[in-house]
């Protein structure tokens, strides 16, 4: 093989050499040629120096600008279809029904407190998990959760993230939590 062809081969091998992807034979040939050819030795040295600078530059930029931890959760939430879309055609009817309900609530005397149903907040679906199948046997588990955990699940609330609050978690047959709600006076 002529010198020109051999030097050309070195150039072709450089990327794989830099990534440690050359076979033992190829590496041995490259080292042998570079030991004899000062031009290729200089090329290899320059390539190595630039490669090191580029890699170091990228690492420096990444260290200096850490990614936000919630980026994945944010993307998952945006990939999920909206849970419910209001149909604007039904808004006037909804508003009228709400007005009637308010009037009735004002004129009908409230029942005694002892027989009132316990007030419950609705379950909030955890956005990055598929919804439960209607036929699935889900279980509600009561547990104490950190506010930070609830926020990560997509629960909207303003409280100290380290505070622990009682909550009910809807657990599917797969053992994963699919929805959550606060209970008691922690709302």
């Amino acid at each position: 093989m002529s010198d020109v062809l051999q030097c050309g081969r070195v150039l072709e091998m450089l990327p794989q050499w830099a990534d440690g992807e050359l076979s033992a034979d190829e590496e041995s040939w490259l080292n042998g040629h570079v030991g004899e050819c000062s031009e290729c030795a200089a090329t290899l040295a320059e390539f190595t120096a630039l490669d090191g600078q580029l890699t170091g530059w990228g690492q420096l930029m990444a260290r200096r600008n850490l990614p936000s931890r919630e980026a994945r959760e944010r993307l998952v939430a945006r990939l999920m279809p909206p849970a419910h879309v209001w149909n604007i055609r039904w808004m006037p009817a909804g508003a009228a029904a709400l007005a009637v309900a308010i009037v009735l609530a004002a004129i009908v005397p409230p029942r005694p407190a002892a027989i009132m149903k316990r007030e419950e907040t609705p379950m909030v679906a955890i956005p990055y998990l598929p919804p439960l199948d209607p036929r699935e046997n889900a279980t509600i588990v009561r547990m104490n959760l950190r506010v930070g955990t609830l926020l990560a699940m997509g629960y909207k609330m303003s409280a100290d993230p380290d505070r622990v609050v009682p909550a009910e978690v809807l657990v599917g047959e797969d053992g994963r939590a699919h929805a959550v709600r606060l209970v008691g006076s922690s709302n």
Partner: protein, 178 residues
């Protein structure tokens, strides 16, 4: 009697394959893509936005049964276009410039070490900016932490040709950084 495990699988909600593939690609490419954008001059907030928008577009692309070939290259191309479009705003351009300068400082070293590192990075960045497109892309993709085989795939060239591209870029950078 039906097997309990089979019944459970039958009831499970099928996952959206486009969503699964998008998240898999996100986990794989998010960090190099972010580095690429930062090295290309984006500020941290713009880089995060570009990553989000890119993977949303990838999801829509997969959902519409778009071309599944070279998705890695597709992702970097979309991110690059997003960044270019964002830069058209003069206000944003000023923001990028300020953030970019600040981003070169490594907070861990001494002030002198930081200043030297900042200067070296600034000169390298400016020199890379002046390279022809293919060489510039190759340098930025390498800085993002990708292997040369991945870079070859993204650029749509043979791995054996990448060495020649880098060699030409090295010669130009040597002159510029001398």
């Amino acid at each position: 009697m039906a097997d309990e495990g089979t019944a459970k699988v039958a009831k499970a909600v099928p996952a959206d394959p486009s969503q699964v593939e998008t998240l898999r690609r996100f986990d794989e490419l998010r960090e190099p893509l972010r580095r690429y954008l930062l090295c290309a001059g984006a500020g941290p907030a713009d880089a995060d936005d570009a990553v989000q928008e890119t993977f949303l577009k990838l999801y829509r692309h997969l959902k519409k049964n778009g071309d599944p070939e070279n998705l890695c290259g597709w992702v970097f191309q979309v991110a690059r276009n997003y960044l270019r479009d964002e830069r058209k705003s003069a206000q944003r351009q000023r923001t990028i410039s300020l953030e970019h300068t600040d981003a070169f400082a490594d907070p861990r070293g001494s002030p002198e070490h930081r200043a030297l590192g900042q200067e070296r990075a600034r000169r390298l960045s400016a020199a890379i900016e002046k390279l022809p497109q293919q060489q510039r892309e190759c340098m930025l993709l390498r800085a993002s932490g990708l292997r040369y085989s991945e870079i070859a795939e993204i650029l749509g060239i043979q791995l054996s040709s990448v060495g020649a591209v880098v060699n030409r870029a090295t010669a130009r950078l040597r002159e510029d950084l001398a």
